[in-house]
Amino acid sequence: MYCVIGCLWGTIVGVLPGLGPLAGLTLLLPITYYLEPTAAIVMLAGIFYGAMYGGSTTSILVRIPGEAASIMTAIDGHEMARKGRAGPALVVAAIGSFIGGTVSVVGLMLFAPPLAQLMLQIGPAAEFGLMLLALVVLCFASGGPALKTFAMVVAGLLVATVGVDMITAHPRFTFGSLHLVNGISFVAMALGMFGVSEILINLEDIAKVKVIKPTLRSLMPRRQDLKDSAPAIGRGTVIGFSFGFIPGISHVISTFVSYAVERKLSRQPETFGTGRIEAVAGPETANNATTGSAMIPLLVLGIPAIPATAILLAALQIHGVQPGPQMLTEHPQMFWGLIASMYIGNLVLLFFNLPLVGLFVNLLRIPYAYLAPSILLVSIIGIYSVSGNALDILIMALSGVVGYVLRKAKFDPAPLLLAVVLGDRLEVSLRRALLISQGDWWALLQGAMSKIFLGAVLLLVLLQSAAWLLGFRRKP
């Protein structure tokens, strides 16, 4: 029951632009004081899954990713919506999320302890390797010319340096403003670059924005759609699950890795970015598959791997439960309650979201002259309610203009945003590793995990350069 409430609230929060799983969880955290512990945790977990589902809806319909994990969905998902195929995109996203979520719960039950041990092997040095690998994959993931993508990634890394230096505690590029000490708000940037810039572009020629009249038939995915997306869902599940136990920002990384894989494997990689159903199915499955594996370090080790699970940890602690190796023996009802809630939650969400697809798609019937201001208003309220900081609204507006200019110049803002997320951890893990090794760079190659990650980086770069040199490069 509480799981259903949680899922419902989570979906609402996920659908509202500017509010992600984190905001949804923190807003309801105080209420859980009054609930019985297991019910409280189950409800919060439901919010977590619900928001992961709901985040895709706004990405597809209005190109506003509610959080970093749905950026990749926005690219092809919204193109599909523009072609009047929002229905199939939403349905496939829901099915993919369900499969990804459910399979990862099974994976959690079967492989939790060994995976947790593997996770511990990843220290700062290996994490640096992993972040480097993620950046390289990111460069190849986007549809545009490699040079433009690369420029965006570098710009993103630069933006990530704003804020207090993690190692010396000195403020960098904050211009004396205490509001910038924690860096530039990612949510505000994402809303600006995607949501606001989309509105600006549509304003150019408002007559061209046609109101799409969805028919019942166009809501359902065609057989071909399902056939196209099935392998992508399968691969997305594997990618999402295997990335989930990697700490930090796994739910984000898994989405663009999945996108890159789908694009590489596709026979027509040049059509990615124009509304391919695989490009929606893969990343959307991947980000939900991480929800299961992100629970592994939380339940088995008592370590929150991603920000949303940190809130779950806080909730467990409120009720006097310290997750860790003894959780299964000391609080079995809590442990199995959570697992059960993950199964039920995924089912509930599927049954919830499928009928809602029709409703959501009807939002597109609203004339753009009304829709655009409402989107802006909800976005502004969303950001302000999370941070209570007017500067974030300014950042959103500025990013909107920057995003508009970038898209006019045919630069894709997605790699920039994702690089902002990666940049922070890339820098911190490198400097942490060097602090531990006392400045010895060879330490980065110590340990099996570091070798694997850096080896993969080298291999990818070599393969790509070789392809260029030999002229095998496909026309973009």
């Binding site: 207090v164 505690a169 000490v181 080790l301 008592g302 806080a314 310290q322 190796p325 942490r432 531990i436």
Partner: protein, 322 residues
């Protein structure tokens, strides 16, 4: 015209009556805003929200929690300092924005710009090592670190944060050198410690407890003067002859400096009573923390001495304003 001047006179008397009535108005007569300078969901937020709820019936007014994150707590803190000193805007925070951050960031407030109401919680920082570590008590731990300056690494919750400063304050006094590796909180520190990437876990007590129970970790030192009941084997600073250098993670209530003394007293009494309530005590104990409820003077003394001591520690380890 005489009528008019009489009217003015009457009006003036009326006004004076109103304003004196306002001055004698019972405090608090409307909801109080409690500014918490962190995002919702952290330790400070969770504890103080609970406290706010308990204090409401005592004050007979609603206490509305407002989260103002940013700048490591300094943004919300600045807002409290600059608020009208009428007792309807107060702040609830942990030590960093008061005694640590002002040494490195250009904060728009000084240590004297606010009134201390009461300290509500305290929890020591614990230092733990793996079972294979060559010492198993506090004295041996310090001895081992002293013999090998710069060899051991300890994870902490961020540069210039409570864990690092609490540890460095003791280490400086005892002539010990260990290398601080900053992480973004106890969760990340625990991961690096369990994976063997740092030698020593430095942080709050609850996250490490499961590993103390299964004997894979042993805790050797806490940064409070006394030992702690959850980790009885860990030495307190009194055992190590450094009881004056105790730094714990605490949370407390502050108000704008010009708050009238009678209102400050009302707040202190109510919040101290709430902090000492059975419900809050039990809640804090579950989180491995101790409920306090000190007098305003005691709290002010704690802040001032910690501010000075940590300023020296930070200068010694090279953490200063540029």
């Amino acid at each position: 015209m005489p009528h008019f001047s009489k009217l003015v006179l009457l009006f003036c008397i009326f006004c004076i009556g109103l304003s004196s009535a306002a001055a004698q108005e019972k405090y608090p007569s409307r909801p109080i805003e409690l500014v918490i300078p962190t995002p919702p969901g952290g330790g400070t937020d969770i504890s103080l929200r609970m406290l706010a709820e308990i204090v409401e019936p005592i004050l007979g007014q609603r206490v509305v929690v407002v989260n103002k994150p940013g700048g490591g707590g300094t943004v919300g803190m600045a807002e409290v300092v600059q608020a009208r000193p009428d007792g309807y805007t107060i702040g609830g925070l942990w030590n960093a924005p008061l005694t640590m951050t002002p040494h490195v960031l250009p904060t728009p407030y000084k240590n004297t710009d606010y009134a201390a109401v009461t300290q509500v919680t305290a929890s020591p920082v614990v230092m733990c090592v793996k079972a294979a570590f060559p010492a198993s008590d506090g004295k041996g731990f310090i001895e081992e670190l002293r013999k090998n300056p710069g060899k051991y690494t300890y994870g902490n919750d961020g540069v210039g944060g409570t864990v690092q400063l609490a540890a460095e304050r003791v280490f400086t006094k005892l002539g010990v050198k260990a290398r601080a590796i900053p992480f973004a909180g106890a969760g990340e520190t625990l991961r690096a410690f369990l994976g063997g990437h740092v030698d020593i876990y430095g942080g709050s007590i609850p996250p490490i407890m499961p590993y103390v129970k299964d004997n894979s970790a042993k805790c050797l030192m806490v940064t409070s003067a006394e030992r702690n009941a959850s980790v009885p084997q860990a030495a307190g600073l009194a055992d190590l002859g450094a009881s004056d250098e105790a730094t714990v993670l605490w949370r407390g209530i502050i108000a704008p400096r010009a708050l009238p003394a009678d209102r400050l007293a009302v707040l202190q009494k109510a919040f101290a009573e709430a902090a000492q309530s059975a419900r809050f005590k039990e809640f804090m104990q579950k989180r491995g923390e101790e409920a306090k409820g000190s007098s305003s003077a005691e709290f002010r003394k704690l802040i001032d001495s910690e501010y000075d001591a940590l300023g020296k520690v930070m200068a010694a380890i090279g953490l200063t304003k540029k």
